[in-house]
Amino acid sequence: MTRSDAAPKARGGVGYGMDLEAPGMLWAALVRAPVPHGRIVRMELGPARRMPGVVAVVGPDEIRTLLPKGALEAERPVFPLDEIRYRGEPIAAVAAETLEQARHAAAAVVPVVESLRTDARIEDVFPEWPSAAAAKDPRVVGHVHARHGDVEARFRSADLVHSETYHTSGVHQVALEPHACLGEARGGKFRVRTSTQTPFGLREDLASILGIFESSLVVEGTWVGGGFGGKGAAFLEPYALLLAVASRRPVKLSVTYAEEFELGRTTLPSIIRLDTAVRGGKIVGRRVRLLLDTGASLPGRDFAVGYSIGFLLGPYRTETYEIEGFAVQTNKPPFGPHRAPFAPQSVFALESHIDGLARRLGVDPIEFRLRQVWREGDRTAYDQPVGPFGLEAGLKAAARTAGAWRTRLPAGHGIGVACGFWSTSVGAGGEARLSLRPDGLVILQGEREIGNGSVVHGLAVVAERVLGLSLAAIRVDYGDTATAPFDSGVFGSRTLGALGQAVERGARSLVTILAKRVGASEIHLEIKSGQVLVVAGRRRHKLVDLLTPTERAEGGLVVEGKFYGPEREVDASRVLAGSVYPYQDFTGAVHLAEVEVDRETGHLRVVRYAAFQDVGTAVDPSAVQGQVEGGVVMGLGAALSEEMLWTPEARLANPGLLDYRLPRLRDVPPIHVELIEGFAGAGPFGAKGVGEPPIIPVPAAVANAVADATGTRVFEMPLTPERVARALKLL
């Protein structure tokens, strides 16, 4: 596979957010709150305005005059109007002729603040596990409660009840490229160019924040230097646009890597309590309780709890259950999505718990999972029928590999297994415009390639498979929100699964139209001497001869492919508070890790790794393999070393890549990838979205391997050497 963006990227020929420039452009810098919680008593912007090179300084007061509706109608304030809610929260912004002048002026703004009590951690808000009444606490910004069956009776009659509490840590997306954007405002029209995963979603978000019409704003995506969920919602764009209004010039805003960490929008810590009732070797009742740190988020975060709880119930038949979770407001930056949001952490807890339960029952962990794992036709916890699901097949394949590994397992080593599941997201749907021209096909769409190839390569492969046209004659084109058809964006592993279906549908209409024109039932396309040919049996037609005069004038045959997914439903009677989510399809992942544990220091080494990934159909096997390997490596970071460390004063202690430890090449073991095909998903040709699933089981697989090697369970991730040493009671 040679991706069409490979050579330009290697040669520096594509433009990222950091590369944005415009004539007459100013540079911006943010003034950031010096305390994690407090009130601004006084903030003088005048001195900064008079500093060299400074063109505009905006704070809460300026919004009222610059964007009057923004101040009144915005759902979220651009700057805090009354209360600072996290350390480093932007409270004003500066635009100047140079970056250095802007940062210098921003540093000169020193607000007088009155500090308020800081809740740095969930435990500061709830020292004891909260009762159901906590739902009314103002610091609870999301609440989900659901139940099914007579849970109490099942727990009373159980042979065994297994109860544990798990803690997880904050994890950052760490995209190589920090956020960067360039805003312009002229005559009531706004334009922002930015490194984003979701141009259309961002347009909606910005319009609501700034109190402007979506129709007066154009969002244009740049090439994205990694997203991993961190480049969706509005981040720097509101400040750049506000400064553009104030200065009447284009304004560029980018952040340092330390700011990237400190501004957050990442996975935050959680505390998870799991109780499981077993009878006759099978799980008969589950209790799940969750406290999710959502940072300085505003109310309305039920979805965060709802998603987490889905992963905490897992891909297992659950006869009876009661689940309750709270999203807890703390004085950290607001949480944000991170590859497979809420899943690796929830699955770490669940799969550690299931594994420990199997060991306690004296049953092989894979065998124990096979007893309860969903099969097609089973019902989910919310009574949705389970579709084709490759998890059982994955477990059986993993059992063979684990058996082979175990025959020669050195002393001090252990093998761990963990399952994960995911569902390809449809989002709010998507569309693509396919133009078949005499010299090839152009797919115009509104997503940006974020690095994995699903846009630049995946969409082209879908068209290739439908039309028979070679990849060299297919180009994926990008539009801004004014020129491209609508699409929800890159998230939820949906690019191939959802936008890919729009492309597939578009390509199929091209086939239908052309078949009719040549009077054949089946056709395919070829390219010869730079000419697209329509092949019907032994007949070959030049495309150019089949086009109408209008089509020729417009450059080709243009069709729109649209995909707005089917509505799925859950049994709402089981949901007592908040909301839970139906699944579009069912994607399984089974991982195996072999680790070596230093019993004297707690140091871990992952010796080898295997991932069995349910993909439905591998549209491009080498691309899927790359996704799985990348997911495993990213998951190993969360499993072993990645952790945002906040002090009791809610200061991030490690805002940089020295002490926020990403996996290095030396940490990466050999990874065996096996694709499980034949369990069709919702995507084109039965494909399932595989962007997120491969990260999900990793921390659990590693933790289970540690338990296998040492007989000791670690209840907190990441499994740093010191945590493992404590679990081993070495200190």
Partner: protein, 289 residues
């Protein structure tokens, strides 16, 4: 940020430039791996930066009984010297895992030593090998044991116009350096343990990094190891003594109690490794005879 970059070509000129500037107005650039961070976060705002690049201090000079390494020699050059690996395995182990290959190509021996970081991987092994430091300054040249150079993080006994010219080490010594980090590459050691066996005087040397306020020799622990062939019991005792006597702090990289635990384990392992190296070295020496 703006400053004038000066490149003296002789030590005398460098010392003269340093003597002529107020402290804080001038900063010394060797490899720059620390200096650049200090400039970037405005810890330093010098008017002049004095680069040592043109000074003739990039060398490894072997003689029958010593190795002299010039202070501006990049760590990578020491690492790539096959004799270093063979004769001073502990020094090679300490250098090989500093930062990354790119960083080691920039970072210098003198820079690492002069920074005096308690977390330095290099300083413990220099202490264990009884390194001597040659210093040039306005008063001429002086030589001192590395132990007398160090005070704490960013604090040494160097005068404001003094520069480290070179470091002198024994030409060979069975030695070992072990570290513990969360990650093997591009991370800072939670603790570092250097051990060496020298033929003269009290034979065993044990030095620790990741301790406060500076890397130090653990003479109390060394004293437990009187002979060339200590018993398992003596080795364990020395390890416990080192862990007991050292001062640790809790920080974002490790807690005090974990550091103490690591030292107890790593000192034992380092002595054992050094003993293995001694027994491997002995037959070959006999064979030569």
């Amino acid at each position: 940020m703006s400053f004038q970059l000066v490149h003296p070509s002789t030590p005398a000129e460098a010392v003269r430039l340093l003597s002529g500037s107020a402290t804080g107005d001038i900063a010394v650039l060797s490899g720059g791996t620390d200096l650049l961070l200090d400039l970037d976060n405005a810890r330093l705002a010098p008017k002049r930066v004095l680069s040592l690049r043109k000074l003739p201090w990039r060398y490894l000079r072997w003689s029958a009984d010593s190795l002299v390494i010039g202070s501006t020699t990049p760590l990578r050059a020491v690492e790539n010297d096959g004799e270093v690996r063979r004769r001073l395995p502990g020094l090679w182990e300490a250098i090989r895992d500093v930062g990354s290959p790119a960083l080691r190509s920039r970072a210098t021996l003198g820079g690492n030593l002069g920074r005096g970081s308690p977390a330095s991987d290099l300083i413990p092994i220099l202490l264990a090998l009884d390194a001597r430091v040659r210093v040039v300054g306005p008063g001429g040249v002086r030589e001192l044991p590395v132990d007398l150079l160090l005070q704490g993080s960013r604090r040494t006994t160097l005068g404001p116009a003094e520069l480290i010219e070179s470091v002198t080490l024994p030409a060979s010594a069975p030695s070992t350096y072990l570290w513990q980090r969360v990650q093997p590459v591009n991370d800072i050691s939670q603790v570092g343990v250097a051990t060496a066996f020298v033929p003269q005087g009290p034979h065993w040397r044990i030095a620790l990094g990741g301790v406060q306020p500076r890397a130090r020799r653990m003479s109390e622990a060394e004293g437990v190891l009187p002979s060339a062939r200590p018993s398992h019991f003596e080795v364990e005792l020395a390890a416990q003594e080192a862990a007991r006597r050292a001062e640790f702090v809790s920080d974002k990289r490790a807690t005090e109690s974990y550091r103490r635990r690591l030292v107890a384990v790593l000192v034992r392992r380092a002595i054992q490794t050094t003993l293995e190296r001694m027994s491997k070295a002995t037959p070959s020496r006999k064979a030569k005879r």
